[in-house]
Symmetry: C2
């Protein structure tokens, strides 16, 4: 009997745009030999202000495109798509494992501040669905959760204005809105893949007592554990290959994506695809 | 011989989202008896960061949808779509007249400051195409033009943070970026339909010498002139009907759209359509 060896197949990573490259980067740090293929649905970003029905349809189309490339696992690097469509994508992909970023982000917060008060900064759609609140309560019934929509932080990260007075006042205002009333956060969850770019300013304003966590690192750990459990880690030791797909605007993808990946990209690094 | 009387048909107005409601409002002020139908392509907004090819395809689909409603004129209320697709939509709609917002905006600036220096605040896509620069030069060869991409102003207007310190510092920074070097603006063109919401803060920072102009008023005048020339103005004197269509998120459309229209909208006022 022969077993089909799929370990050299790439891990597929999907996001509404470039923000998920922070998750890709964490996976590359954790598992440098894995081959990775990333799809950014730049033609229809942002997802965070769209309706759940549209988000679910877009996510299903992106997933179908990645399946054409024969992937061994799917990572939904977009918080909004994870909040809306994780279960339906797991059905669509079965038996290929599908991992979202919401549960890993929630686990990171619970580990950092057990029994604590968690402030989730996220997009409108993610907040409306309360996905982080549900995931945190499931793992830590004593925890308290507040979710705050922060659309301007997305634009701020895309513009590259990630420090200075403007970033400072916008973050201050959202935190003040969130902490209005009796809520004092022990942890802040960066519940959108754009927000790690603003980690420094958020940490500084929140103060040393507050743990600022994101999904990228814990998602990469979950990817490693899942592949290990199924014997699916790539066998070789070299540097894995990286393929970048986008549905629109290769030039903008390269420019803004480079900020997220922390390395310069050119338009030739990005392949345009239709969904 | 009988002539087909189309004067009671609605004027179709199309935008990527809710921003074009500022143009709709100006048309309603200018021509209160006209029936109006507005389509906001909220499923795929914003257009300003997308590629010209995608923008052209979206605009053609939106136009086809409005044609199903039997319109007597099409107004492209989105600066980006006007910059990219005006001519192709005029072909698609022939003989129904099609008016964009770029040329009326350019005419308003030239009229306010003949031979002057014009600063265009717009989206990335509009700036990349240089549509305002071309339109201004055609009507005033002595004019100088600088175009500045201001993506954060879009998010600011949608968030409703249209005054206060944050709006102030963001506008200051974009104006400082634009006036870096030798350029001193005599007029500022609000080259995105979101920006009229920020007119007060822009005017205050720019100072009394600078004319701040937008396309809405002049577009409404061009609509009147075009209909008058063809005998197409509606005959009755009552208040015209208004129909609002959106491709996604009726609730968000109602909430944000109300800010632009200056009146409360409910989710029942907005009909969802597929493109």
């Amino acid at each position: 009997m022969t077993t089909y060896d799929n370990t050299s197949l790439p891990i597929g990573i999907f996001d509404s745009g470039v923000g998920g490259l922070t998750v890709l980067q964490a996976i590359r740090d954790e598992l440098p030999s894995e081959n990775l293929i990333y799809l950014g649905d730049t033609a229809r970003l942002p997802y965070g202000t769209k309706s759940p029905a549209s988000i679910a349809r877009y996510a299903a189309q992106a997933t179908a495109k990645l399946l054409e490339h024969d992937i061994k696992m799917l990572v939904i690097a977009c918080n909004t798509a994870s909040a809306v469509a994780l279960e339906s994508l797991q059905e669509q992909m079965h038996p290929v494992p599908v991992i979202g970023v919401v549960v890993p982000g929630a686990l990171a917060a619970v580990a950092a501040r057990p029994g604590g008060a968690h402030l989730v900064l996220a997009t409108e759609a993610t907040v409306r669905l309360g996905a982080y609140g549900k995931a945190i309560s499931r793992h830590d019934p004593k925890a308290r959760v507040k979710e705050q929509a922060c659309e301007l932080l997305v634009a701020l990260a895309e513009e590259g204005w990630t420090n200075g007075d403007i970033a400072d006042s916008i973050v201050r205002r959202y935190l003040a809105d969130a902490e209005h009333g009796e809520f004092k956060a022990d942890s802040i969850i960066l519940g959108c893949t754009h927000f790690p770019l603003l980690r420094d300013v958020i940490s500084e304003i929140a103060g040393d007592d507050v743990a600022v966590v994101d999904s990228a690192g814990t998602t990469a750990s979950v990817v490693r554990e899942t592949l290990t459990a199924s014997g699916g880690l790539v066998a070789c030791n070299g540097r894995g290959k990286l393929k970048l797909l986008a549905t629109d605007g290769a030039m903008r993808f390269a420019r803004v994506g480079g900020q997220f990946l922390g390395e310069a990209l050119t338009v030739e690094d990005v392949q345009l695809v239709d969904l």
